[in-house]
Symmetry: C2
Subunit: 406 residues, 2 copies
């Protein structure tokens, strides 16, 4: 992937984007930012993918409507309250778009709106109405402030950006994300805001994003709970000056590769910072008869509470991996399955042809004690592969979620 | 249900059954029994339902084969090792049946064999071969010893029995069960052994059992992990002397009612003793358009890690209940959903028509602090109902599973 150069700047890495984040008062803790804004200098092609949960946050409904024409120029987002299951939710989400209009003149229907936090508590517009001027004044090369303001129980800021070339023109894609609980995306994931200065039609942008999430955010699970507010949006404002991408071809492929680099990086950040997590678990499945088989097996393993708890305990309990493969709903051949654990400390084969093999428990413990672990599975039935990302299940997950609202 | 009389005795409550359990040495801890036997004086009609996991314990394969003719006379079971994913698993399971033959003369093919414990570690026949004589000598009115010997991380013995009448003849059904991790049955659940002295054909016995588990054991989830060794078997030896049940009708209905009483009681015991659990959660869904809708919604809520953690924290975070309803894969109408929490301390309506309603947090805390809690959901779309049972997610679940093998 030499053609990609990782850069800093997050959503402000692409030309023509400003971002900012402040504390406006939705959260009680004044140290925690809770209100974020991202703006493009010019209207941008825009695309989005959303939660498939039938219980949808009001902002998801409004954003879908606003993106129907494939154009947007701003993203506004609050944390501390999901604005979901509220009788006046739509109204509040629309008022948030109007606030952007008030300070920037951008049409309210060109605003992407998102909220994250507790479900089912009324969201007061007042702190945001009072804070919008300060937020607008805070705009600049401040992607990190925006990334901070969309965090809920996240412990780490999630940001990534790359530079790459199309037709000899340097282009950029940047993104910020939040996790980290209620994470089991289905066609989208929690909140991901991506920006780019590539010139591309909104149709091709949507195609790229919809395809991308299948192997990035949709392959992440922290706790198997699909959020009501999942939203992943991208704005591409065209300021890089490349010839506009309107069909598949070399330029589109380059764009998709760059996009995938950013989305996979953010996916891993979301998984690694899963609520209470001490480690990132990557499950690589090869030898699938179909791509669906490989994906379902990878997701099943990454979602298993028992596998997750074993990884927390650095316990090479591979029987639980086999168990999760067995209930993945795919016609695997148990007697062909190989399983290996791997990390920076080495690798340990634990199961071959569906049966246990002798291995050093000491080495296994060392391998599994690292903060990034791979569970590598070969189904030996074909050439299809998939990767899923998750994290371990820990005391802190229980602690965080045992009393989240207080 | 006046016609049912709860009785003691577990699997020995029905006439003609003896049971026993000893420590034979599979487990290191000599205080823990690990070898159980249940015997009927005479050959019995027999039926079973099993895990749908493609990774199946060797005992499941052997039991299925032995029950193909609908007749069995004994159940042998060890704990401490699941005899799953072992190259010689089938051989060991068959040897266990032969051990029963050796001491009792019962045909090996009339033996139900089961194992529970760690997956993927070779199971040595020697401790069982050495212990079978002692186990046979220990047989008697000792259902509890057998129930104890099949426990793994269970903290409580699970046993139930009822007496009821068919044609004026007193009949009995008894059962023992083990949970308590890797519990998310699909067409069966962990280990459940049921006995009865009713006279019934094996076809009708199988029909009753297969139907029953749909609304009993299959509606239980502790951690969403479907075990490799789920087995639920019933023996009916006919010693009650009723006219043999060979078709549907009053007698069959009475039998099914009695069976359901025992299986629901055991289901709740399994859920309440879920690994690390501090409380039983019962999710009652009414107003479903279809029975499938009600069931899938109940199961989705009971399986949600976030709902489970909130219940541990006595936190009336009903938004998580809505979220889990929303991803249940059923076409619910979000704006018609009502949710109420209930326990012996009262009830609290928290959501009406999909939106939050004001409620006393103090009362909610009191209601949720009990050790048996109901989450009652009305979908308001039709007349179908379902109930599922589960437990809270606690620090101890993580502790137990972080290092299960050591």
């Amino acid at each position: 992937m030499k053609f990609l150069r990782e850069v800093g700047g997050g959503v402000c890495a692409p030309y023509g984007f400003k971002a900012g984040g402040i504390h406006c008062g939705i959260r009680k803790n004044k140290e925690k930012k809770d209100f974020a804004l991202i703006l493009s200098e010019v209207p941008a092609a825009a695309a989005g993918v959303y939660t498939q949960n039938l219980v949808k946050g009001a902002p998801v409904v409004v954003t879908k409507k606003n993106l129907a024409n494939g154009v947007a120029q701003a993203v506004i987002c609050n944390s501390g309250n999901a604005n979901t299951c509220n009788a006046n939710g739509i109204e509040i989400a629309e008022e948030m778009c109007s606030l952007v209009n008030k300070v920037s003149g951008i049409d309210p229907s060109d605003v992407i709106v998102a909220s994250t936090g507790v479900i089912g508590q009324p969201l007061d517009i007042q702190p945001m109405a009072d804070g919008i001027e300060s937020l607008y004044s805070a705009l600049g090369d401040n992607s990190d402030a925006a990334a901070e303001a969309i965090m809920t129980t996240d412990t780490k800021l999630k940001s990534a950006a790359v530079e790459f070339d199309i037709d000899g023109k340097a282009c950029r894609i940047g993104g910020i994300a939040k996790g980290v609980g209620m994470v089991c995306p289905n066609m989208a994931t929690n909140l991901i805001f991506l920006t780019s200065d590539v010139s591309i039609s909104s149709e091709m942008l949507q195609a790229a994003l919809s395809d991308d999430v299948k192997t990035s955010f949709n392959m992440v699970s922290v706790d198997g709970d699909q959020s009501t507010n999942d939203t992943c949006c991208i704005l591409a404002n065209g300021l890089a000056g490349n010839e506009k991408i309107t069909q598949t071809g070399e330029a589109f492929t380059a764009f998709k590769k760059a996009l995938h680099f950013v989305t996979v990086k953010l996916s891993k950040m979301i998984a690694k910072d899963g609520e209470g997590a001490t480690k990132l678990i990557e499950c690589n499945v090869s030898g699938g008869k179909t791509s669906k088989m490989a994906k379902n097996v990878a997701r099943s393993v990454i979602k298993s509470s028992l596998v997750k708890a074993a990884m927390f305990g650095c316990d090479a309990n591979w029987g639980r991996v086999l168990c999760a493969i067995g209930y993945a709903g795919e016609a695997v051949d148990v007697n062909k399955i190989d399983v290996t654990f791997r990390s920076s400390k080495g690798k340990v084969a634990v199961c071959e042809n569906g049966y246990g093999v002798e291995f050093s428990e000491e080495l296994a413990k060392k391998v599994l004690s690292q903060d990034e672990i791979q569970i590598n599975i070969n189904l030996n039935l074909g050439g299809c592969k998939a990767t899923a990302w998750g994290c371990d299940l820990t005391y802190d997950y229980v602690k965080i979620n045992g009393d989240y609202r207080t």
